[in-house]
């Protein structure tokens, strides 16, 4: 059986459409490009200034002038383009990204996202995350459903400083796929073998459960 990270990435990959422009964050989001169905070509955007990111180069092929948004050596596919940071964020802020996929520490029932700061602890800075969630047409949060100690990460109200207010479109965990609607969180799909109750028990807000809930891809 595939691991949680791959399951999350695969189910997100299935949401993308041929021709989409997508920004993938560090971690689980990066894995999404491994699971794109045949015939679905997405263009990957690097917020440090490029479109057309491809698979990472071999160390000996690395170009010192080309990195991804994580600072790692990167490569461009044919048709790639480079531009300055103002232009890169004009793409993001201007609504030209079909989707951004990023990690989450907390998401709540209003679609608020916290993923950039734990006061007194992790102070890496928000980088491009606030722009991405404010600008992308779809904001897909890829994260494990609960924290290591089992506490819900999908909450009634985020407790950490927010990255964006009401920005999340979809949450994908190893347990389920949730869409954020104006009425609350709608359970769209659950992992094979799990029940709605399994998911609800690890989720703080009461989920809206439609008549038909799909089964996640394995």
């Amino acid at each position: 059986m595939a691991n949680s990270r791959d399951i999350i990435a695969k189910n997100i990959a299935l949401m993308l459409k041929d021709g989409d422009l997508v920004n993938l964050g560090i971690g689980i989001p990066t894995l999404v490009s491994n699971f794109l169905p045949e015939g679905v070509h997405v263009t990957l955007h690097g917020e440090n200034g490029c479109t057309g990111l491809g698979p990472a180069p071999k160390p000996e092929d690395a170009d010192p002038d080309l990195c991804n948004a994580g600072g790692a050596p990167a490569a461009l596919i044919p048709g790639g383009a480079c531009f300055d940071s103002a232009w890169s964020f004009a793409i993001i802020r201007g609504g030209h990204l079909d989707a951004t996929v990023l990690g989450g520490m907390e998401v709540d029932g209003k679609g608020n996202l916290a993923n950039w700061m734990v006061p007194g602890k992790l102070v890496a800075g928000m980088g491009g995350a606030m722009d991405l969630v404010a600008g992308a047409k779809k904001v897909i949060v890829a994260m494990e459903h609960a924290s290591k100690n089992g506490a819900p990460k999908i909450l009634n109200k985020c407790s950490l400083p927010l990255t964006g207010v009401g920005v999340v479109t979809t949450i994908v965990t190893e347990m389920c796929v949730i869409d954020v609607s104006k009425d609350g969180l709608v359970l769209k799909a659950i992992a094979p073998g799990l029940t709605v109750e399994d998911v609800q028990s690890k989720t703080e807000p009461k989920l809206i459960v439609p008549a038909k809930v799909a089964t996640m891809a394995e």
């Binding site: 440090n48 600072g71 300055d84 940071s85 802020r93 800075g125 928000m126 404010a134 207010v165």
Partner: protein
């Protein structure tokens, strides 16, 4: 016109206590020679406006490790544990900016735009103390222009007039900061004659550049 000067002459333009903009993203497209020179000369008490602080041994991180930085305006410090340490210890002041807001504030500084309304950061701590305004039913945050006393740019190629060509993602913040500094120093890998760069190849017009230094 020939704007090429020595690294030492360029370093003479940078003074203790100044506000500097420095190009680069995770040390890609960062002016390494000038940074090494600042460390060597111990030009300190600096306010730096840049995306990040690179790594402890690479990029702007070298200035942080050498304790030459008083304040950072940046979007991210996660790649440099020493920056995080100094920040947590209260030794270094940091103003975090969303990366796109930072880029746009630099551009605004160079473009004579005093402020602009962005959707980024509305409802977050970034909005604290800032004005908001609604346009077509959506709330936007007012962000203001940034300027520097000296902007230090890294480019791939320059002609002697200062027309610059960048490569790949080493472009990043460099063209922007070149527009927003009172003095602009470009560190470049290759210097060619005026006329050797086609007008359509120029990525930053030489009118912005005051001094050129060979990397």
């Amino acid at each position: 016109m020939n704007k090429v000067i020595s690294k030492e002459a360029a370093l003479d333009k940078i003074k203790d206590g100044q506000t500097l903009m420095i190009g680069g993203f995770a040390a890609v497209g960062t002016p390494a020679s000038i940074i090494a020179g600042i460390v060597e000369r111990k030009i300190g008490n600096l306010t730096i406006i840049a995306n990040d602080t690179g790594f402890p041994d690479k990029g702007i991180g070298l200035l942080v490790v050498a304790k030459l930085v008083k304040k950072m305006h940046c979007s991210h410090i996660g790649t440099n544990p020493e920056t995080i340490r100094q920040f947590n210890a209260g030794e270094l002041e940091i103003e975090f900016n969303p990366q796109g807001t930072l880029a746009e504030r630099m551009r605004a500084g160079g473009a004579g735009i005093a402020g602009f309304y962005t959707p980024t950061g509305v409802g977050t701590v970034i909005a604290d103390g800032k004005e908001t305004k609604d346009f077509n039913g959506k709330t936007y945050l007012l962000e203001t222009a940034l300027h520097a006393e000296v902007s230090i740019v890294k480019a791939h190629k320059a002609d002697k007039f200062g027309n610059l060509v960048f490569r790949r993602t080493a472009k990043n913040f460099n063209p922007l900061i070149a527009t927003a500094g009172d003095i602009v120093i470009a560190e470049v890998e290759e210097i060619v004659e005026i006329g050797d760069i086609d007008p359509d190849e120029v990525m930053l017009p030489g009118i912005y550049v005051d001094y050129i230094v060979k990397a």
